[in-house]
Every structure is written in C-alpha cells, then in structure tokens.
C-alpha cells in the first residue's frame, strides 16, 4: 500500500471514529416497550375496524332491503291505484331499461330483477367508498 492510500485509510478511520455516536444504555429496552404498545394498539384498531365494517355493512343491507321490500309492497298495491306515482314510475323505468338493454342481447329480465341488481351494486359501491375514504383513513 502506498503512502497516499495509507493517508486515505487513516483519515477515513479517523472520520468514522469521530462521527460515531451511541444511544443511551436503556434505548432498546424503552423502544421495545413502545413497540409492544404499538402492536397492541394495532390489534385494537384492527378489531374496531372489523367491527365498524360489520356494522356499516349491516346498516346498508338493512336500508337496501327495507327500501326494496317497501318498494315491492307499495309498488304492488300503489302501482294500480296510482299509475303516475314515483314507485310505479321507477318500476316502469327499470322495465323499460331491461327491455331496451337486455333485449339487444336477446335476454329477458324483469324490471324487479334489474332493480335488485342496481340496489346491490349501489350498496357495494357505497360500502367501498365508506371503507376507502372514512375507515381506512381513520385506522391507518
């Protein structure tokens, strides 16, 4: 090794020695306690997240089911008595849509079936939006 390399090596080891610092003796111990706490909090958050998911899914299902049932019951009775009403109009709209869209492919689906699919889709979209913008933001 020539003198130049020796000087370089000497300087580098001097720089390394001067830069090195050490944490206090109980640093790891303190940190590991915090890590255990973080793990516990994460567990709790996961549980709360799952519970909230379950509650929201339940509430949405109840709302959609009640809506569909109400529409079906009222639509069955009211459509004849009140042909120009909102429910009858909605039913007509889905019937018309079904005939036009699925008719093109030679499939025949009732307006009711389309309505259920539509509400189910709306529920899935609503749930994923709540999950993405509310729950995941709060628990991550």
């Amino acid at each position: 090794m020539n003198d130049f390399n020796k000087i370089e090596e000497f300087l580098e080891s001097g720089i390394k020695e001067s830069l090195t610092e050490s944490t206090s003796l109980n640093f790891t111990e303190k940190l590991m306690r915090e890590v255990e706490m973080a793990k516990e909090f994460a567990k709790q958050d996961k549980k709360t997240y799952k519970l909230l998911n379950f509650i929201i899914a339940g509430v949405i299902t109840v709302i959609i089911t009640s809506g569909v049932m109400l529409a079906y019951l009222l639509g069955g009775e009211g459509a004849d008595e009140n042909p120009g009403g909102f429910i009858a109009g909605t039913k007509d709209l889905f019937n018309g849509l079904s005939a036009k869209v699925f008719g093109l492919f030679g499939i025949s689906l009732s307006g009711d079936a389309i309505m259920y699919v539509f509400f189910a889709g709306a529920a899935i979209i609503m749930f994923s939006l709540i999950d993405r913008f509310v729950l995941k933001k709060s628990y991550n």
Binding site: D3, K6, I7, E8, F10, L11, E12, G14, I15, K16, E17, S18, L19, T20, E21, S22, T23, S24, F27, T28, K30, L31, M32, E34, V35, E36, A38, K39, A42, N140
Partner: protein, 215 residues
C-alpha cells in the same frame, strides 16, 4: 454492512415482535449518529430515532415495506425524514441540506468547512527535533483535530459524511434520500476529506504524519 435477513422481517410480520430487537441492535447507533448530526441534541435525537423505529415496525407489520427496496436505504430514508420532521418541530426554519450560507466577502472554496474550527495543537509540549516520531505526533492530538473538525463542519457536510462512512450508503443512495445531485454528494465528501488532509498537513509535518500512520 449486514442487511436484515428477509426471514426475520417475515417472522416479525407474523407476530414475533421480539425479533425486531435484532434490527434495533444492528442499526441504532449508526442511525443515532445521523439523527444527532441533524438535531444536535441527544434527547431530541433519541426521540426522533425511537419514532423512526416505530415507523419502521408499523411498515413491516402492515406489509407496506416492499422487499424490492434495499432495507438499509429504506430505513435510513425513514430516519432522515423523521429527523427533519423533528428539526422543523423544534426549530423555526426548515432543515436545509442543499445550500450553504456564505457570509464572508473574500470567501474561498471550502472555507465553510473550517468557519467554526480552529485546530489547537500546543507545539511547546514536545520538542520535534529530539523526540521520536511516535512521540512527536501524539495520537490524542490527531484524534482531537479530526474530532474537532468533524464536529464543527456544517450539517450539509456532516450528514453526507455520516451517511457515507457510518450508514454505508452509496453516493447514489445518498443522492436519492437527500434529493440532491449525485455530483454534490461526491464533491462534498471529497472536499471534506481534502480539507481535513490540508489541516493535518498544516499542523504536522507530512513525512512525520506518514511515519506515524505506518506505525
């Protein structure tokens, strides 16, 4: 440097939290050397480092650390960013690793490195003519000059030197973490070393120093 075994990461992810201690033991002092260069305060630096390790733990546990990135680079990015966050919290300005303030009118390239440093070697303590080389250049003197120099150079240099010599990051990795050009990283490491060489050669006779190093 020992990179963390992916097996350990996977076991931590599966709940073996105690294995995280192995990572802490490998990195804590090297990472602390970096945070203290930024924050200049032991207590704040330990707090920032603790937060960095917690961020790392959460990233490993939640699977957001992707093994595609080199572990040490990923970790030191967290350490640097957390220390900068703490710097902002405790100081009014933001941490600036890019530019160096120059106040002197007759500024020469590299002057900022020795702005706050004055080598203190008391030559009267030994007679350079009669004493042997080993005794002429006292280890303590050389060490104290290097330490004094390193402790007073601006953070724009010390952070880079620390990342290069202690954290063992490559020039490219440092450039990526600090978001500064690769040339700046190389130039600062080179200039810091050259300036130190210049100081030592000014304080000690070059031949003596070479002899001393050989011993």
């Amino acid at each position: 440097m020992n990179e963390v075994n992916p097996e350990i990461l996977s076991r931590i992810r599966q709940g073996e939290t105690n294995l995280f201690k192995e990572i802490v033991d490998i990195y804590k002092d090297r990472a602390f050397s970096l945070t203290i260069k930024i924050l200049k305060n032991r207590e704040e630096s330990e707090d920032a480092l603790q937060e960095s390790f917690l961020r790392l733990f959460r990233a490993i546990s939640s699977d957001s650390y992707e093994a595609k990135a080199k572990f040490s680079t990923y970790f030191y990015t967290i350490v640097y960013n957390t220390a900068v966050d703490y710097y902002r919290k405790y100081n009014s300005g933001s941490f600036n690793v890019t530019s160096i303030e120059i106040h002197e009118a007759n500024y020469n390239d590299g002057d900022e490195l020795t702005r706050d440093f004055e080598p203190n070697v008391d030559r009267s303590l030994y007679d350079t003519e009669s004493m042997s080389t080993e005794r002429n250049i006292e280890t303590a003197e050389v060490t104290s000059i290097i330490r004094g120099y390193i402790n007073t150079i601006p953070q724009q240099y010390s952070v880079i030197l620390n990342m290069f010599f202690i954290n063992e990051l490559s020039h490219e990795e440092i450039s990526t973490i600090l978001k500064i050009p690769l040339g700046t990283v190389k130039n600062r490491i080179f200039r810091a070393k050259e300036k130190l060489k210049e100081i030592l050669f000014r304080e000690f006779n070059k031949e003596e120093l070479i002899e001393y190093i050989k011993v």
